[in-house]
Structure formats: structure tokens, C-alpha cells
Amino acid sequence: MDDVVTAPEDVEDTRRPAYGAGRVLIFVYGVFALAATARATVQLIRDASEATFAYSLSALSAVVYILATVALAHNGRRMRRVGWITVSFELIGVLTIGTLSMLHPEYFPRDTVWSHFGQGYGYVPLVLPILGLIWMWRSSPARIAAG
């Protein structure tokens, strides 16, 4: 390959390390990964048999939050694909479970992260995947390269 550019050895990159607004998004995703994991763990330790469906959902959402956090932070080619899938899954999850918890509250004797569109968490679970999708689109290498 002729077009490979190598940096001259005497040149130093003095720019301060910065990633931008995406770092906040990754941090908030991390907080939710932690919160969902802690919540699911507490629920499963304390009273697993009480609301199996709700608690399984908590555990599932925890796994998805962890995957999304790792994917957003890694930002590699394949990891971005994982990012798209997990963040979309979250949006679908919060919309489905949110609607279901409004129409059939009897399915949810105990709350999950996604119940009532994430009301218990200040609706952040609803806003987060939307911001995540916007970020995934904005930071897409293909889109940036296309100009």
C-alpha cells in the first residue's frame, strides 16, 4: 500500500486527550449498567420467587446496559454493531415494557427499570437510548467519511 501515512518521529501530538460529549453518554450508560445490575442482584437475593417475570427483565436489562456501555466505550467496527443492536433493544424494551406496564399492571407486581417508561429513574431509561442512537449516528465513521 502506497498511501499509508506514518508520523515523523520528531513530531509530538500535544493536543490534550479528549473524546467529547460521548464520554458523558458512556458514563451515564455505565451508571445504568451498575444500577440495573445492583438492582437485579438485590431483587434476586432478597425475593426471587416473588415476581419472576419482573426480576428476570431487570436482569436482562442489566446485561443489555453492560453490553451497550462496553460497545459505546470501545467504538470499534464490530463493537459499534453491538452498540446499535443493544441501544435499539433498550429503546424497544422501554417502549414495550412501558406500554405493557400501563395496560397490564398485573404482570408487574414489582417494578423494573423499564416500568412506566423508566419513571422510577426520572425517565432516563427512555431518554438514554434515544441519545444513544443519535450519538451512534453522529459518530458513524461512514457518515463522517461521506462528509
Binding site: 490534550r16 486527550p17 479528549a18 458514563f27 451508571v31
Partner: protein, 131 residues
């Protein structure tokens, strides 16, 4: 909202530490927002503040342990300790971001971390008072 939680005349050590942490977090959050607006990244002095909060969190666990050994009735110990243990992670992660992200966005992350800790401490206080 009570400034100092009292049951009868007993002052609860855990609640006192809790409100001290809430106060520190509020100061740190406002400080970080100011720097974010001024387009500045997290400063070393703020990390000292974060370390103080971290020490207060450990102190709270010790105070809680002593109170429980002394016979305080805790309704939901799993949730209580779950909150305390997860709270420990917030400031170190914000500090790592402060070192790797030398832009205003590290200030935003610190502000978010401080606000999340504040909310967690209010829940800790609530769970502690419920027997």
C-alpha cells in the same frame, strides 16, 4: 425534608454522615457545572473534594456497621448495603474520566456523578430510617 433525621431524641450517625455527603456532593456538582460552563476540565482540587466524599462513604459504612452491631433495626439490609457498595464506584470512575478527558466534558461527568451520589444518599437515608 428533614435536615437532620431524628427518631425521638436519637441522632442517627448514618443520617448525619448522609447529609454531610449530600452537602459535599452539592458543592462539587455546582463547582463542576461552573467549570463546564467556562469550558474547563476537572481540576486537581476537585479530585481532592471527590476523595473527601469517598472517605465519607467509607466512614458511613463504619458508622452503619457500629449502629447495626449496637442493635439498630434495619428493614432492608440487602438494599442498604447494595446502595453503599455501588456508591463507592462513582467518584473513582469520574476521576478516571477526569484524567482521560481533558475537556469540559469531564466536568459534566463529575457533575453527573455528584448528583447521582446525592440521590443515592437520599435513598440510603430513607432505607436506614425504615425498619
Amino acid at each position: 425534608m428533614r435536615v437532620v433525621a431524628r427518631v425521638g431524641t436519637t441522632l442517627h450517625g448514618v443520617s448525619v454522615v448522609s447529609w454531610i455527603i449530600v452537602g459535599c456532593c452539592l458543592v462539587l456538582a455546582v463547582w463542576a457545572v461552573v467549570l463546564a460552563v467556562r469550558n474547563t476540565s476537572v481540576t486537581f482540587n476537585q479530585l481532592i473534594g471527590a476523595a473527601v466524599i469517598e472517605v465519607a462513604l467509607v466512614a458511613q459504612m463504619v458508622v452503619a456497621g457500629i449502629s447495626l452491631a449496637g442493635g439498630h433495626d434495619l428493614g432492608d439490609p440487602v438494599t442498604f448495603w447494595g446502595y453503599l457498595i455501588t456508591a463507592l464506584v462513582m467518584m473513582p470512575v469520574a476521576a478516571v474520566v477526569a484524567f482521560t478527558e481533558r475537556s469540559r466534558w469531564s466536568s459534566v461527568v463529575l457533575a453527573v456523578a455528584a448528583v447521582v451520589l446525592m440521590v443515592m444518599q437520599m435513598r440510603v437515608n430513607q432505607v436506614w430510617m425504615t425498619s
